[in-house]
Symmetry: C2
Subunit: 345 residues, 2 copies
């Protein structure tokens, strides 16, 4: 796409802490990751945020008008506000003025804007949102998809998620030989609901998918799998539960550790450790979910994202661009078209 | 059922630690909870386990031959071994010689034996397994059902789970006004897969269900809900993930706490606290899952159950018997029969 440096369009107006935290994360990324950042949004507000920093290189500002509010119905709002920051950011990718988009705004709106403005990759029926969770093994995260884009799925959707997830795991997360699992209620192939039973065989028969079997709930964080595919209903519930459970455990820790004198002394000594524990449990480090299957690299970050999350999101986007994730997915499906009769559903 | 003391039939041969741990838990319960225990299994092995204890009152032994092994296909094995401990235990309830059954053996076999020997309660299409998880609020657990008996559900099954769960929450868990939620991917009624969308309206319209709305993954441990209904696929994945995540977090704690000198001293001081934390995260205290909707009180405990879990399982069974949970469910459905046209699915 022309430039050798990845150009990342950032919805500067999206998220609870926009634009200040978004701009701060973007500046850090521009300086440390060697990417070119395009800040999309209200020029005055972005300028005000930029003034808080003393970076030598100024990112480009791309003007936009307004943003999609969290309570708005995505499709209607995107239509009513054609110049909203998320629409303008997507257009930059469409016009090849940027290689990727990042937004911490209304996630439904970001997904809808990507579908409307960029469209799906050929061969992909439904784009999926992938989320990266830490596992019991440090630096060995697991990619789960879909975590909410498609609540009712057909087996071939999950098959496509598996193909896309494998590529993402290899070329963005750096797993040389990813192991793919199917989220299910038992290890045996005969276990599961109708969707899982039918999907198992399809994944097993597809030579492009390094499928190793069913992943139970207890296996998700075990590092036995690098990619786990599921419908967006189960995936969303799992992701939100996982996000919350870290908080619950830390609360229990705080409650229980301070009991008794020993506890009080221990807690004082352990404060720095607790911070590290929180970091390892937290998913902030992981930047956000990648919207896989649309014709552009799109990262959807959490609404509560602060500068470090945006920084990590930009790193993910850069990896995806530099390693040509979209092109790799497309090439799989160009090959697959010739043998597409294999999987009919 | 005749006796004033609850009579609990226990599959003494089921589980990884049978019969020793099962017998130990049963003896403790007989002494402390005032229940009458019937130990079902191989008399010689049970006698050997009993000899390790000095309790004054000896429980009754009901002879059985063999047990269903974990690798066996439930239906075939139950048929081939009519005198297996789980079959004999279920028959005791059927013949009104016991009020409840507890097994830590093959859970699929226990469920199948209950269905075959006791049958379903009138008005219930599908029995469900309920699991109790601790929440962020001490002594305020949440009941989740179904966690694995029915992987593909129809809205009316979930409606029945909600009715049964409400009664269980009130009369076994002691929640005076239980709040019932539907596991879903968003709070709004318009969110969810087809099953959730259709179930939402049915739960809302049923005056017997204290339905308060959708429960997202992040709400499960928040104590905002006392009962959460879902299909057995999502429920099983959530339960197994929750069970494992406690272990993962404790592992991260152990890894991280010992780093540095402060960490080492802190850890030594905190050891007793860590034990308490483990207890609060653990679900051992909760005894096991209740099989709701069959014509008998059945508790299915984890295969790894040791004496404390069996003790708690017996306490659950006693509460269910003493508070007439089955009779209360039945009376709801006798009333409901008259207005059964309300929910058609």
């Amino acid at each position: 796409m022309g430039s050798t440096r990845a150009r990342i369009a950032i919805d500067a107006m999206g998220g609870d802490h926009a634009p200040d935290e978004i701009v701060a994360g973007a500046l850090k990324a521009q300086e440390e990751l060697g990417v070119e950042v395009l800040l999309v949004g209200d020029p005055q507000q972005i300028e005000a945020s930029l003034k808080q920093h003393t970076n030598s290189t100024r990112p480009e500002i791309v003007p936009a008008e307004g943003t999609i509010e969290m309570h708005e119905e995505p499709l209607g709002a995107l239509k009513r506000k054609p110049k909203a920051s998320i629409n303008v950011a997507m257009d930059l990718v469409k016009q090849q003025k940027a290689d990727a988009v990042i937004s911490a705004g209304h996630s439904g709106a970001a997904m809808a804007a990507a579908l409307l403005r960029l469209g799906r990759l050929p061969g992909i029926d439904r784009p999926a949102i992938g989320a990266v969770l830490p596992t019991i093994v440090p630096d060995r995260p697991v990619l789960i998809l879909d975590v909410g884009a498609n609540v009712d799925c057909r087996p071939k959707f999950l098959e496509q998620f598996a193909v896309m997830g494998t590529i993402y795991s290899q070329y963005v997360l750096g797993v040389s030989e990813p192991k793919v699992g199917l989220l299910n209620i038992g290890e045996e192939p005969c276990k599961g609901n109708e969707l899982a039973l039918r999907t198992y065989q399809i994944l097993k028969d597809n030579p492009q998918i390094p499928f190793v079997g069913n992943a139970e709930g207890r296996d998700v964080l075990s590092a036995k799998f690098d990619v786990i595919v599921c419908d967006g209903f189960a995936g969303n519930i799992l992701l939100k539960f996982a996000e919350a459970v870290g908080e619950v455990v830390l609360q229990v820790l705080r409650d229980e550790l301070v009991q008794g004198l020993n506890g009080k002394i221990g807690t004082a000594l352990l404060k720095p450790n607790l911070k590290r524990i929180k970091q390892r449990i937290d998913h902030v480090e992981h930047g956000g979910g990648l919207l896989l299957g649309v014709a552009g690299v799109c990262i959807i970050s959490h609404g509560a994202s602060q500068a470090p999350t945006i920084f990590h999101a930009i790193r993910l986007a850069k990896e995806a661009v530099d390693n040509q994730v979209l092109e790799r997915i497309q090439s799989k499906y160009q090959k697959k078209d010739r043998q597409s009769a294999v999987t009919r559903d």
